[in-house]
């Protein structure tokens, strides 16, 4: 599996995400936001957490206009897999690759703790090693994780089985407890929790490693 991890000014989970991919067996290339082209033969692009461009204007809004964002959009539109974690999820909604928007947490505070995620859909390259209803303990660390989508959009996500993860206990006010959603072709995942921070025993748990293992199982042969 060949992975690329994007770095924007202000990204701070790019190294952790690259390590998690590598630990799962992937070959990782780091890509700078000014690069207008992605490496050839990629299986997946990872957009990491952090505070790209200082969260100026809106979280992810400036990053979504960067040269590499156009390349990521083209990659996704031709069937490539993309995962956006935390700020990466915000970038994906700002590019329009995922529906909805991440608003300020309902409690207005930055929330930093480990939470239980419920696996809602196993029908994706990101979640195929789980069973529906499994719990995964993964950290969250965000100020703007309140996933918001209108009733029509929510109905569509539900009807198409595109809610990948929900929170067992909602930490930020997100619509329908949503923690992660899939694109219509199921190949783009955005999620606020950080699986890369729960990917080896030294992290205090390995529940997040299963996501990278799922990707490896689904994409290694491709």
């Amino acid at each position: 599996m060949k992975a690329a991890v994007i770095t924007f000014p202000g990204s701070n989970c790019d190294r952790d995400l690259a390590v998690a991919f590598e630990k799962a067996g992937a070959h990782v290339t780091k890509v700078w936001h000014k690069d207008a082209a992605l490496p050839k033969g990629l299986d997946i692009v990872g957009i990491p957490g952090g505070f790209s461009f200082g969260d100026y204007l809106r979280c992810g809004a400036i990053a979504a206009q960067s040269p590499v964002a156009a390349a990521i959009r083209a990659f996704a539109e031709t069937g490539g897999h993309v995962i956006g974690i935390c700020n990466g999820f915000q970038v994906l909604t700002e590019t329009g690759l995922l529906p909805g928007v991440l608003m300020r947490n309902a409690g207005l505070k930055f929330v930093c703790k480990s939470v239980d995620l419920k696996v809602e859909s196993t029908n994706s390259a990101f979640t195929n090693l789980w069973s529906k209803g499994d719990l995964a303990r993964v950290p969250i660390a965000h100020h703007d994780g309140n996933y918001t989508i209108d009733a029509e959009g929510l109905a569509r996500l539900k009807a198409e089985d595109r809610i990948a993860f929900t929170y067992a206990e909602n930490p930020n006010g997100s619509t329908a407890d949503i923690a992660g959603v899939l694109s219509a072709n199921r190949r783009v995942l955005g999620m606020m929790p950080h699986p890369e921070r729960m990917a080896e025993a030294a992290h205090g748990g390995t529940d997040g490693a299963r996501l990278f293992g799922s990707l490896m199982a689904a994409l290694a042969a491709a």
Binding site: A61, T93, G100, T148
Partner: protein
């Protein structure tokens, strides 16, 4: 000595607000804080942004169309936000 004539600059002012019906937790927190300070009778607070732009364009209509395009592409997220444009 007279300074060289400067090209006329058009000023655009963009107001970005959350759409009606979208919960504004920050505005709600401000309303609560005003109540704590003794300002009674504040029924609602909505918080938004003002963005000012200096434009080299000379045609007001064209400038407004351009700024509206900027709002659609970047300055507002029209999933949850609405905007107004004033040109002066």
């Amino acid at each position: 000595m007279t300074a060289p004539l400067k090209a006329q600059v058009l000023k655009a002012r963009v107001h970005v607000m959350l759409k009606d019906g979208v919960l504004d937790p920050q505005g709600e927190a401000v309303r609560h804080a005003l109540g704590t300070l003794g300002f009674s009778g504040v029924e609602a607070v909505r918080q938004g942004k003002v963005i000012e732009l200096d434009l080299s364009a000379t045609d007001k209509g064209a400038a407004e169309a351009e700024v509206r395009a900027m709002c659609e592409k970047l300055l507002a997220n029209t999933v949850i936000e609405k905007y107004t444009v004033e040109i002066a």
